[in-house]
């Protein structure tokens, strides 16, 4: 009897054991899928870009003066696109960094707790608005307004695209910075107040330096968002690649170029098809750089307290 019971028990636990193992393996595969996705992204970008670089040398890619891969006399100077990306990103950051930082300080140090609970999610809604709606906003509302201030401003320009993009990434900067500032222990604030410092002095000389790595991580995330942003620039900044750093001019970014080419019907394997992957790889490497930097900074700041 005892032997039978034991056998039953072993048998039951054996089935259960197998079931548990199967489930664990299935869950592990799901977790591994994220690695597969990354490999897929890198693989497809590198594969298609490598066929592109078989036709176009890396030297030409980096030194050509213009980016006109679809013309009869094609030029492949990625810098023309990088210029557009750079200018729109800088304009966006000039808006988002000061506004986002000051907002974060205000939310973390000045705002009453109940107001903060209301304002913070509302500010985060700014990031929830679809980017195509921001593109509409930039082209049809902000640009006409700017044209009144700056006569002769073209209908497509990087300034308005950058400004609206700045508005869009404010919550990325303010939310993360605020989290970092609130993670600074209370006793540091109290120490500063005890020394007679005002809230502002405390914020700038104690809180801000203590939370600097978290805040930098927020900035880096903002940069990465601005670099990768597509619809606002595709709608409002124009589609013409230009080597200019004048924000009042139209210029295409890396992302806008990919959209422009994708809108037309490109045959698989053509040089235009490959060129969007080369542009995409450039963009991916740029953002990867920022993302890794941001992740590293966040990791470091977490270990401070």
């Amino acid at each position: 009897m005892g032997a039978l019971g034991q056998a039953l028990l072993r048998r039951g636990s054996g089935v259960t054991y197998v079931k548990e193992r199967v489930i664990e393996v299935a869950l592990a595969l799901a977790a591994l899928s994220s690695v597969l996705i990354t490999l897929g992204i890198v693989g497809i970008l590198v594969y298609e870009a490598s066929t592109f670089f078989r036709n176009v040398s890396l030297a030409r890619f980096l030194t050509d003066r213009e980016w006109t891969p679809l013309f009869d006399n094609p030029q492949y100077g990625i810098l023309a696109l990088v210029c557009g990306t750079f200018v729109t990103t800088v304009v966006a950051l000039l808006v988002a960094v000061p506004v986002g930082t000051v907002s974060a300080i205000w939310l973390s140090e000045y705002a009453p707790a109940r107001l903060r609970e209301v304002i913070k999610p509302m500010l985060e809604l700014l990031a929830a608005v679809p980017t195509v709606v921001y593109g509409y906003f930039a082209l049809l509302l902000v640009t006409p307004l700017l044209q009144r201030l700056i006569p002769g401003l073209p209908a497509f320009n990087m300034l308005s695209a950058g400004l609206v993009m700045g508005l869009m990434i404010i919550p990325y900067i303010s939310s993360l910075s605020e989290d970092a500032m609130r993670a600074v222990p209370m006793h540091m604030r109290e120490g500063s107040y005890a020394m007679g410092a005002t809230k502002m002095q405390t914020a700038f000389r104690v809180i801000f330096p203590s939370a600097i790595s978290g805040i930098t991580a927020a900035y880096v995330l903002g940069i990465s968002r601005a670099v990768g942003e597509t619809m606002v620039v595709a709608i409002a900044a124009g589609m013409q690649p230009q080597r200019t750093i004048d924000p009042t001019e139209p210029a295409a970014t890396i992302t806008a170029f990919i959209v422009q080419v994708s809108k037309g019907d490109l045959p698989y394997g053509s040089i235009g098809y490959q060129s969007i992957f080369a542009a995409g790889l450039t963009l991916f490497l740029l953002t990867l750089l920022f993302n890794i930097g941001g992740y590293w900074l966040r990791k470091r700041y977490r270990e401070v307290y």
Binding site: K19, E20, I23, E24, A26, L27, A28, A30, A31, L32, S33, S34, V35, I37, T38, G40, I41, I44, L45, V102, S103, I105, W106, Y110, A111, M122, E124, L125, L126, A128, V129, P130, T131, V132, V133, Y134, Y136, F137, L140, L141, M195, G196, T198, K199, M200, Q201, S224, G228, T230, M231, T255, I258, V259, S262, K263, F277, G280, T287, L288, I292
Partner: protein, 534 residues
Amino acid sequence: VAADTPIPGGAPGQPKPAADARPRPPASRSSTNALLAIIRRGKRRDRLFGFTGAFLIFASLGALGVLIADLIHDGAPQLVHTHLVKEETGYPPSFLTDVVGKLVSRPALATAPAVGGGGEPEWVIEPEPLRLDRSSLAVALGVPPAELDARLAALSGQRVLLQGLPPDLGGAAMSPDKLAPLPPDAPEGKPGAKIHRNAMTGTLARNGDDWTFQPEPLVLVPEDVHAAHLRRAEGERVAVTKRSALRREVGRLTITNVSTLRERSFLMSMPASSWYQAGILAAAVGTLLVMVVTLLTALPLGVAAGVYLEEYGRKNWLTAIIEVNIANLAGVPSIIWGLLGLGVFVYLLNLEHSILTAGLTLGLLVLPIVIIATREAIRSVPRTIRDASFALGATKWQTVRNHVLPYSMSGILTGSIVALSRAIGETAPLIVIGAVVYIDFLPPPPFERVPVATVGADVAGTGAGETELRVQPFAWLRSPFTVLPIQMFDWTSRPEREFHRNAAAAGLVLIVMTLGLNATAIYLRARLRKRINW
């Protein structure tokens, strides 16, 4: 002042002497004043900075408010606006082939025995008035704009011949090419006389500042049109399709088709080449179906990955890599996901530019959001719950399924809602994988009644042929698609102001969906925080 005053905020130097030496008023007072000034200045700056911060935040929120107000201002009229379509086909009447008006019948006149006869009534269409464009009227009449009203007033009340293409129904004012009075003895004024294919006779009327043209009723000469069809449409607003432009006659119209007109709203219309006929039906259905595939991809995969990382994964290099990797994936620009979809799903797996491709791409795009939300939700379930379950002899999976997952379900739900709202607004990746902007059909439904194709059947067009039920539960997955943001992008990129209003209406729908979803998530999160008391 600054010579013996210590740095602002500190002031450690002064209090000490106060203990032993009381009579030092002058120095003390001046330094006290200086200190007070510094404190006051600090406070002033502090207050100023506080105002600046509050101002910047409210300015940003104000910008969002302006954006929403503009979308409502430009888009709301468009959303409630309706236009007319032919009932049978769902297509709007087209000015090249259609005459629009009310269909009435009257007893056949003895003077016109050729039409009908034998007691059959005579069918007449009473065309709708056309608004006329002032500037082209002046050109058509050859008078300076200042004298236009006087000239038209002289013509009003008489029969006139108007030539030109009427615009699409509900659209702009008509620009006539030619406008001439019609003397009673003119040959083209007589019933049955042939006139130009784009000409019609009628009278002018003034309507405020505008002039309108009221075409005369036309007797219909049906060709291949069933009398039953005409009887059904009697008294309704209809569009009739002209048989041949060459046979246009005064007072008579040969027709090949009669369609009843129905009002159709923006939400229920397909894209069209004219703004007032265009709608977002195809885009809204596309968005809905793509979201279904997105959720079916992201939810199981994301929750499973989150459960593994929190409950099963040991702390080793593999889980560390997966964690860094997920954080990185969350920061990959959305357009790169489009390139992944294009390279892998469209060309490698040959799924074409379909709803399936779009849903899978967006599903992978929001996967990191779902994983991160799942992990946070699971992490908030206290250790004690698991311990209690294990103590009762439950296995790991039983614990996860019966205890951990139910407790973290609302957190996962919140994360999924945020992921969904992100996916709804994505435009760039779907453009890259090849969404089509102009789609005037819906994906095939799972069950469809189709006519059986038999030789020679249904020649008469009675619609009485046999049908069979076709079951195609997954055909919609392979259908080409468009989504709301792409429709909005297309309308925004057009030069016409009217299309921008359509874009605003689409944007309004889009922003209501995304902000609504986000508000739901915020509400759920707040409720969750209040309710759960471990």
